[in-house]
């Protein structure tokens, strides 16, 4: 009898669970999975999306692997992602720790100022920094020249050796507040006693950070790092508005490469192939990360 009631309860739970989650499930299947599969299918076709749908099989995949041009975009994406996430993490960890310091004055005000970049749209940030980087009238060159760091104005965004770094700087500026806010919340959960104990044991600031702070924020830090990597890997808007992938292709990351292949050159099938390739890379990275995490635990 008891078992039967439990069984009935389970059915009830099932039905209610499905009822409440069905709209989300509907969205996921129809609006996420369906287009995704559609995208994979297109990658096997030579198509203009209107009247030409020629099945070409693995032709584009072979070309992708043999012909090296896409690897260059991939490499630039790795550089962009690595340094952007690194820069964001350094600033986020630094400022989050400073903002929880015991005797720091005006904490709320400082936090409000530091999160500000997050509240400007990507496009706006791109346009603003394009103006700041402007060779003749930009603030950036003016400051550097006033300080005597450069003699002549530098064309930060149209010089192929500086463009990528200029773009990364902007991405760091725009993105560090998110991680900082997450870490701030995580830091507030670390017990004060731990710090005091560490201090009594004679640990300096650096050792306290290493043995108390870092383990305390690790779960949040690793989750946000993973999110950041995935976001940076597919980032488009800032780079597009700063350089459109140029000069030549110095800042052409995969998202811009894929966009151009489709909507500038109208090679939709080949563009889809590249998107699928990136998708596979991200899956592999995630699986690797999960495995490494399991090993750590």
């Amino acid at each position: 009898m008891k078992g039967m009631i439990k069984h009935k309860g389970d059915l009830h739970q099932n039905r209610l669970g499905y009822a409440f989650t069905s709209p989300a499930f509907f969205v996921l299947v129809l609006m996420v999975v369906y287009p995704l599969i559609y995208g994979i299918v297109i990658s096997f076709f030579d198509t203009n999306l209107v009247n030409k749908f020629d099945f070409v099989g693995l032709k584009y995949y072979k070309r992708l692997i043999v012909d090296g041009t896409f690897y260059a975009s991939l490499g630039r994406t790795v550089v962009f992602t690595f340094f952007t996430v690194l820069g964001r993490a350094v600033l986020a960890i630094l400022f989050a720790n400073l903002l929880v310091m015991k005797n720091m004055p005006c904490k709320t005000l400082f936090r409000s100022i530091l999160v500000l970049p997050w509240f400007f749209p990507d496009v706006v940030v791109g346009i603003l920094w394009k103006w700041l980087y402007n060779a003749n009238y930009g603030l950036f060159n003016f400051i550097l020249r006033s300080l005597g760091l450069i003699d002549a104005p530098v064309e930060w965004l149209s010089n192929s050796s500086t463009a990528m770094w200029a773009v990364i700087m902007v991405a760091i500026w725009k993105g560090f507040p998110f991680m900082m806010v997450m870490l701030l919340a995580a830091l507030q959960t670390i017990s004060k006693d731990l710090y005091e104990a560490a201090e009594l044991d004679g640990c300096g600031i650096f050792q306290r950070f290493l043995h108390v702070t870092l383990p305390g924020i690790m779960p949040v830090l690793s989750t946000t790092l993973m999110l950041e990597v995935m976001w940076c890997f597919k980032h488009f808007t800032l780079i597009w508005n700063l350089t459109k992938g140029g000069p030549v292709d110095a800042t052409q990351v995969v998202s811009i490469d894929i966009y151009n292949t489709a909507f500038q050159y109208m090679r939709f099938g080949e563009s889809s192939t590249r998107a699928v390739f990136v998708f596979v890379i991200i899956i592999v990275l995630t699986v690797l990360q999960k495995k490494m995490k399991r090993k750590e635990d």
Binding site: L16, G17, Y18, A19, F20, P23, A24, F25, L28, M31, V32, P35, I42, L49, L91, L94, F95, L98, L99, N103, M104, I113, L114, V115, L116, W118, F119, F120, P121, D122, V123, V124, I127, L128, W131, L132, Y137, L139, F142, W173, V181, A185, A186, P219, M230, F233, F236, T237, W240, N241, V254, S255, I258, Y259, A262, F268, A275, V278, F279, I282
Partner: protein, 276 residues
């Protein structure tokens, strides 16, 4: 112990430097927008406008379809955010309160969708919306934005419901409320802060979105703010003071969020993430 009461000089200087790093570009945007066009082409630049003018704002609003851009963004972003929150709140509640077959798979899948590079869906959406006559329409963009926001918002709402004690549900059930009643009268009011911050999150992301709006709108009168000002910069008639004025106008909704809902937003956003 005496050492700890000391004012953190080095830390304070670093924070001030950080604030300058953030504020100087923002300051530059604001003062440039108030300068007359010739003054923006001064070398060395003027650090404070010699003559204040609203010309740039006037030009952006009257000479360009900025009003249209803004209106389109409001319709698309508000529409998609409302629908997203409805769907995500229900799903978050369902996943947090009921044991059902496939629940783990459902939640796992919600997170997995975050890995999809959105660009893989650019061509499919372009083609699908074209097929159903939804390209260059508000509804088309709303559909796309819902698909972007539902997964993470579902996850945020699920995390938030998990922080609300389940005893309240049982108490309400004893009082004779059915499950829909519990959802409406107990869970929903208690989760309002979570709903608010999730809505703000979806709102910010949709207001920011650029790439899909660029591909999926084809005429000037359907462009969103992001796309509109992103293309304004290619116009040879436009000056930097105009661009900065347009940038400030485009940021207004997010700045309002920053001014009035910042704390609410951060509390809700971090509540689920930290307490897990």
């Amino acid at each position: 112990m005496g050492q700890r009461k000391k004012f953190p000089v080095a830390g304070f200087i670093l924070v001030i430097l950080g604030c300058l790093m953030v504020l100087v570009p923002v300051y530059w945007m604001i003062i440039t927008s108030f300068k007359p066009a010739p003054e923006t082409f001064r070398n060395p630049p003027t650090l404070w406008p010699e003559s204040f003018t609203l010309d740039a704002y006037r030009k952006v609003i009257t000479d360009y379809s900025f009003g249209d851009f803004f209106g389109n963004s409001v319709i698309v972003v508000v529409g998609s955010t409302l629908l997203t929150i409805l769907v995500a709140t229900m799903a978050g509640f369902g996943a947090s309160r009921f044991r059902f077959k496939g629940k783990g798979a459902f939640l796992g899948f919600v997170l997995v969708t975050q890995m999809f590079p959105s660009v893989i869906m650019l061509i499919p959406y372009f083609r699908i919306l074209k097929l159903y006559g939804l390209i260059n329409t508000h509804l088309g963009l709303i559909i796309v934005y819902i698909s972007f926001q539902v997964p993470l918002c579902t996850w945020l709402m699920y995390s938030y419901f998990e922080t609300i004690p389940k005893d309240l549900d049982s108490a309400a059930a004893i009082d004779g409320l059915n499950n829909w009643g519990i959802f409406r009268k107990i869970a929903l009011p208690l989760s309002l802060p979570g709903i608010a911050s999730t809505s703000i999150y979806a709102f910010i992301n949709s207001w920011n979105e650029f790439q899909f709006a660029m591909v999926l709108t084809t005429t000037e009168d359907m462009k969103t703010v992001s796309v509109g000002i992103g293309q304004m910069i290619d116009d040879t008639m436009i000056n930097w003071n105009d661009m900065m004025a347009a940038s400030i106008l485009a940021s207004i909704p997010l700045i309002l969020v920053f001014l009035f809902c910042q704390n609410l937003f951060f509390e809700g956003l971090t509540a689920g993430g930290v307490k897990q």
